[in-house]
């Protein structure tokens, strides 16, 4: 019932792609399903209706019926309409920074994530844009809200306005701007108290703050798990405040999609960022193509690649890539891979982004596969000597027993790790030279357009056939190499193995 939109639409279009031609009736039946799927994904009703109409107009007609691959055509129409509704394929504009001190004001409901997002934004402005940032909390209502922002400022290594008890939000805003001016700050971010859109007094206060501070950006921070209310809240805040953009938080939850579509559709405001995770660097630039791709079940491959690049220690990765090019892959390499999987949000995080891996992710979520296994596997490898890690052939029975004792596991666990390593090493051998180069070209080619139906199919099938699924349940180690059709060994190591996802060859 609460399947991700991805799965839902996957089911709908499976039926469509299986046919040769599409009748109007087919399209309507499919779109009824799409409607329910979108509603269940919390896209607001008015937005759903508008969306369905757009798609229907496009889909029913000669263009589709005469098309060689009708299913593919409908997928493309839905995909394009999603991107359109989400704000188009171009990247959202960067934050507007006016002459210093430039003011950014944060607004939103209680608990939407304003304060955490303020900290994340500060870090981004400091690191990426090299701005000198001052944070000021105008939240005089929630206990310890000011302290929270001060702590986040410390984490982001930016300054925060000293807390003075008893001041009103407007007074604090004035003090913040003064401090920013005299302190030579480029940007001052005003974090405001959470408020409901029908709290007249509080909405007037927000409008006053905006008037006084004259922000270059007023950002509505909203929870991406929001339901039908997304429309109402976005509309009402937009009526009272000259909003310039939206930030959706908790986009790492499993309820993504709906609120983004709704809010964008009713306000026309760009969604600028997505809040991902609780750590201070968890802020991604919004990318409509990426989200639309996710919704359609293509998986968030672009995000996956970005994450891999982000997390991989590039020097180590290059070293490993060089090694792998020679067909070598020792237990140290395996250990590094496992650690990088953990850094990327664990298996759950990766599989949420992989096309066709929804079911595997479900197994994971249901506890069939335990995330802790990775930790244990790393422990097993850590209990080996350096020599053993480089030459796994040394690992005879007595060594294995010693390692098992050292890692606090059964010998069978050690055996599994060794077996996993062997199968991965074999694969690396077969990848051989040129794998990386070829892969990068393939990925580059992919980025822009829609994958063909063959590619889409290949994605799903590969993920299924590659052994990711069946072994995952009972036998984690063997599942790992198969996950991405041989993708994982390369994943952390700077992409070589990603080719296994099936982007490579058309069938």
């Amino acid at each position: 019932m609460f399947d991700a939109l991805t799965e839902k639409l996957g089911g709908v279009f499976d039926n469509l792609t299986g046919r040769g031609a599409l009748s109007e009736k087919d399209v309507e039946a499919a779109l009824r399903e799409v409607r329910v799927a979108l509603l269940e994904a919390d896209v607001a009703l008015p937005v759903v209706k508008q969306f369905i109409n757009t798609v229907k107009e496009e889909a029913v007609g000669e263009k589709v019926i005469r098309a060689v691959k009708p299913g593919q055509q409908v997928v493309k129409i839905v995909h394009d309409a999603l991107i359109e509704t989400l704000g188009g394929a171009q990247e959202p504009e960067d934050l507007k920074i006016s002459s210093p001190p430039s003011v950014i004001m944060m607004a939103g409901l209680q608990g939407s994530g304003k304060t955490t997002t303020t900290g994340k934004l500060a870090l981004r402005l400091k690191k990426k844009d090299r701005k000198k940032v001052l944070l000021a909390s105008l939240d005089t209502r929630r206990p310890a809200a000011m302290e929270q922002l001060a702590i986040l400022a410390t984490q982001a290594e930016v300054e925060s306005l000293p807390i003075v008890q008893g001041q009103s939000p407007v007074e604090i805003a004035k003090r913040a701007m003064q401090a920013a001016k005299f302190g030579g700050f480029d940007v001052v971010i005003l974090d405001t108290a959470g408020r409901t859109s029908i709290d007249e007094e509080m909405m007037v206060e927000a409008a006053n703050i905006a008037k006084i501070a004259n922000p270059s950006e007023i950002l509505l921070v909203a929870d991406s798990l929001t339901g039908q209310d997304a429309v109402e809240t976005a509309k009402r805040f937009h009526e009272r405040l000259p909003l310039t953009g939206i930030i959706l938080t908790r986009a790492d939850g499993d309820g993504r999609g709906g609120a983004a579509l709704s809010m964008r559709a009713v306000t026309g405001l760009p969604i600028k960022f997505l809040g991902i995770g609780e750590k201070i660097d968890g802020l991604d630039v919004f990318d409509a193509r990426r989200i639309a791709g996710r919704i359609l079940g293509q998986g968030d491959v672009v995000a996956l690649v970005e994450k891999a690049v982000e997390n991989a220690d590039m020097a180590a990765a290059e070293k490993m890539a060089a090694k792998m090019a020679k067909g070598k892959f020792d237990l140290d390499d395996l250990s590094m891979q496992l650690r990088q999987i953990q850094n990327m949000g664990g298996l759950g995080g990766i599989m949420g982004m992989l096309p066709g891996a929804q079911a595997a992710k479900k197994a994971l979520d249901n506890g069939v596969v335990n995330e802790k296994i990775i930790t244990r596997q790393i422990a097993v490898i850590s209990s080996m000597t350096k020599k053993e890690r480089q030459k796994p052939d040394l690992l005879n029975a007595s060594r294995r027993r010693r390692i098992a004792t050292g890692a606090g596991v059964d010998v069978s666990e050690v055996n599994k790790v060794i077996k996993m390593h062997r199968s991965m090493a074999d694969m690396v051998k077969s990848i051989g030279k040129g794998g990386m180069k070829g892969l990068m070209q393939k990925m580059g080619g992919m980025k822009g357009g829609m994958p063909s139906e063959e590619q889409l199919k290949a994605l799903g099938e590969k993920a299924l056939q590659s052994g990711a699924m069946p072994p995952m349940g009972q036998n984690m180690p063997q599942g790992l190499p198969g996950l991405g059709g041989g993708g994982l060994p390369g994943l952390g190591g700077g992409l070589p193995g990603l080719g296994g996802f099936g982007f490579g060859k058309k069938k």
């Binding site: 609460f2 209310d229 809240t233």
Partner: protein, 358 residues
Amino acid sequence: MFGWFKKKKPIEDTQNNEEKPVEVVESSEIISIEQPETIPAETPNEPLAEPTISEEAKKGLFEGLKRSSARIGDGITSIFTKAKLDEEALEELEELLILSDMGVETARKITAEMARRRFEKSAAPEVIRAELAEIIAQMLAPYETSKDPWAGNTRPQVIMFVGVNGSGKTTTIGKIAQNLVDNGHNIMLAAADTFRAAASEQLLVWGKRANVPVIAKESGADAAGLAFEALQKAKAEDKDILLIDTAGRLQNKLELMAELEKIIRVIKKQDESAPHETWLVLDATVGQNAISQAEAFIKSGGVTGIIMSKLDGTAKGGILLALTEKYKLPIYFIGVGEKVTDLQPFNAREFANALVNI
């Protein structure tokens, strides 16, 4: 419907003393704000009192909920313009219901029930509204609880609060704490959200306001360890109730859900029956994801009841219908504002009436 039980005291409006200085945790030691005076515990046999709801607060509930549901009521007025209930009107009714976040399935079910009751019969807006409120109230009535959550045999009663980030756990605990104290309970709070910046401080402020001890540690401390020590301390000090705040966590984060399981395991080492209640705090704005939240938190946290916060906004909280239907969990409280008195025991009829605007 249960109340706060025990001795009634006038509930003070906390708005006036909202701006107390904040206690910042620096020490790595357990911080515990001791009560200057101990309030004597009441005899457990005292007759149960009715909920203490001031007229003003009651108005707040209705205003809040009514505002939030204005569109269902208005919608009905604009849909039901014909003399009799027909297919078209039913279809539009289904859409109106979906707008309250109850989900497609529940909306269809209610629409079907409406059709069964009134198809081809009079469809005057006020008749339809009354019928709709009736249907919804009937659906929710079993989950309005008469169970006194504070009245278990073991002392202290341990109540744990779980939910995703920003759902309103800490604020809800603050309100419950004040209400309990006002009704003569001897309680303790545990700030087991050791992750979010200044989460402990937030609870410490609430503790100070209500004049109850708060067990807190420095940020990053082991949450399970803190909960364990808090229970130890609550036992030693013979508290009636221990309220445990936990960090917000998205239900798809396995390692965080595992942490929750650990907290419970550790608590059980001291008292096999604890936590006696685990309440899932849901934000009223939440959509269908609440189902996935409930499922995961039931599995990892053994949720025994629901609290819905922030019903004073534009969100309607219709997901409660889908949730109770699926998981049969009682709804203990709803939050309809920022004041302490804005936390109300859940009443199915009032909720249904407010939802359809009558």
